[in-house]
Symmetry: C2
Subunit: 246 residues, 2 copies
DNA sequence: ATCGGAATTTTGGAATGCCAAAATTCCGAA
DNA sequence: TTCGGAATTTTGGCATTCCAAAATTCCGAT
């Protein structure tokens, strides 16, 4: 009887497998990531723990922990006087991050070649096809998200958990710069061509070619992002301080 | 007068340049890292926040933040019921981490070739020479530390801050396994040979050869650590639960 | 002795309050 | 008007406290 009750509980309890109810720290960290990526919290913004906590409807205790996580992700930095602010890395730092990202994705592609399934290849190729097909119709954000999903699918196919995790962190750091870069028309054809090269190499499960294609792709991302920074630099002050929102 | 006082303050205030006095979080995080690496907090140990906080002489607030940092570093994990414990990764996970570490060091070596100075090369070679010279006299820990310093010096020479930081985190995760591995006599000659190959490639500033040598070195680290795990596995239960110390 | 479940203890999550330091405002002298 | 420094406000660091949930202990029925 008790046995039966237990099984019933397991069935009805949590639909998703046993998760212990999200803490405010996790919720806040996710929300902050979103606010930063969407620039509701703009780069360089000074953060007031009290204001932000009340804006999120929580106390400072879980917010502080969330900020600590985001700091580890490189999205939040602390000034010398311990005031948190949204990270606003100069181009040089972004370029360095992209170099590491290139090595990570190259490794992922290499590993993926030895274990990727046809279905996974089809998924990767599917993203690319959607991008090509929707050339004129997709919004910049939609195109960009397809691009990101394609890269993530390749990294996921590596089957290497630490690699996937580290890649995810670099992705978060670089999201804004890459998004801005993706919005320019220049280099878009090259991007698609590079994607085709990646998929071709991956389809042949050629680890060396896949790694090279991915590294090349990230290298051209550096060039594209440099152009974004140069335009922004000529248009306005390089590091405009922004204020903290309510 | 006030001007003079200010200058005097600057001179006598902080010997190291303007650091805002370490917080308990930082102190605790460093201390915890040390306790884990030295196995005062053994792998798999359950942690009681209250006990650990009082052992460190601080309250739970900064300790919790420190644990959050260590969790991001992969040294602390949280059970499904949110109880923190020292990470105790199975071999498979360590192997995956080593693969990523190999790619990171290969990239670092590659980058280093384009900018490393003769002095830095001499420093790297110096560690290796000390290891070879002290073959019989150095303690296992001393040899291991030289080994680690050599690798760190190469990564530092890359000049890529995010890479250095990510490498440092992987290093912390893998420290224990690599230390255990280094204590076995088997493979020690191979290690030294591989080090020589790395230094030779680096001295010639050959990025491809350096990258290959570093990857090979990390690949053999996987083999060596596998042996450690296999011996441990035959000697005793694979995942012995350990208790939390006072 | 074994088992199940109630009672108890222990646990981490989170809010709150206080403090010192930093940032800002204010105001009078020049 | 400008400037310097005192007064005030704001800030993050940290300890404390309460609470719900989890873990453990306890105890009686079998």
């Amino acid at each position: 009887m008790s046995r039966k009750a237990e099984i019933a509980d397991l069935d009805t309890g949590e639909l998703t497998l046993a998760r212990p109810r999200a803490t405010l720290v996790e919720v806040a960290a996710d929300k902050l990531r979103e606010l930063i990526l969407l620039e509701k919290l703009p780069a360089g913004a000074q953060i007031s723990e009290r204001d932000l906590a009340s804006a999120l409807g929580i106390s400072r205790t879980p917010l502080t922990r969330a900020l600590t996580i985001l700091e580890q992700d490189g999205l939040i930095e602390y000034s010398v006087t311990r005031r948190p602010q949204v990270a606003n890395p100069p181009f040089e730092e972004i370029a360095q991050n992209l170099v590491v990202m290139g090595a990570l994705e190259a490794l992922a592609g290499e590993l993926a070649c030895t274990r990727i399934t046809d279905a996974e290849i089809a998924r990767v190729a599917g993203y690319q096809q959607q991008m090509e097909a929707g050339e004129g119709t997709l919004s910049p954000l939609e195109s960009f998200q397809l691009d990101m999903q394609m890269h993530e699918a390749i990294v996921a196919a590596s089957g290497n958990a630490p690699l996937i995790d580290t890649h995810r962190k670099y992705n978060a750091r670089l999201w804004r710069a890459r998004f801005q870069s993706s919005q320019r028309r220049a280099g878009r054809d090259q991007t698609l061509a590079e994607h085709r090269a990646i998929i071709a190499a991956l389809s042949q499960r050629d680890p060396v070619a896949t790694a090279i294609a991915l590294r090349r792709h990230l290298a051209s991302a550096v060039t594209n992002i440099r152009n974004v920074f140069q335009d922004a630099g000529t248009a306005r002050s390089p590091n405009p301080d922004t204020e903290t929102p309510a």
